[in-house]
């Protein structure tokens, strides 16, 4: 899904008057060599998320140079997304692709990162969120079924 398609989903929800919120959370990480973390993010009780993540360029803290490397990247997983690895390579960093998932209440979206480079790396991630009340979800799903997969629960 591209950000353009994400915008279209927002438009359709508004057109059909499905009650929802939109917001995003941007995080900046500074990670020294050999360090790793896991980020978990999930909806409040009673709400379903459509989540779309976008990623900025990673850069070397010392030189400011953009990092393109298979050794820099992260694993991520969502309720309907299998664990997979995203390296900071140009085929991913210069191309928008389906970083979307549905996150029901009580579940989380995960990003796991370990810095295997020999330098401190700074990068940012934005989680774009459409938040829909559980009671509106069945109707929203019908409207969006041709755009999203994995929303069958």
């Amino acid at each position: 899904m591209t950000s353009g398609l994400f915008s279209r989903i927002l438009f359709l929800l508004r057109l059909e008057e499905v009650y929802h919120y939109y917001y995003h959370i941007t995080q900046e990480y500074e990670v020294p060599p050999g360090a790793g973390f896991e980020m978990l993010i999930g909806p409040p009780k009673g709400w379903v998320w459509i989540i779309y993540t976008s990623f900025g360029d990673a850069y070397d803290k010392e030189t400011g140079a953009t990092v393109r490397s298979f050794n820099f990247g992260f694993w991520h997983k969502g309720p309907n997304m299998l664990w997979h690895y995203d390296p900071a390579e140009s085929s991913l960093m210069n191309f928008e692709y389906p970083h979307v998932d549905i996150v029901p209440p009580g579940e989380v979206y995960r990003i796991r990162f370990i810095n295997d480079e020999d330098k401190t790396i700074i990068f940012d991630i934005t989680c774009h969120i459409i938040e829909i009340p559980e009671e509106e979800w069945e109707r929203a799903k019908q409207i969006l079924k041709k755009f999203i997969t994995g929303g069958g629960r």
């Binding site: 990480y29 020294p32 050999g34 360090a35 973390f37 896991e38 980020m39 978990l40 999930g42």
Partner: protein, 35 residues
């Protein structure tokens, strides 16, 4: 072993969402800065 510090900056949303950043490597600490 030298301690590793991962720095995270973000502005929390005005919602009670689940949001957690935890270390997955040894001797690593997360330092959160709400900018």
């Amino acid at each position: 072993m030298e301690e590793k510090v991962i720095k995270v900056r973000f502005k929390p949303p005005k919602r009670q969402i689940v949001f957690q950043v935890k270390p997955v490597t040894k001797n690593t600490r997360i330092e959160v800065k709400e900018k």
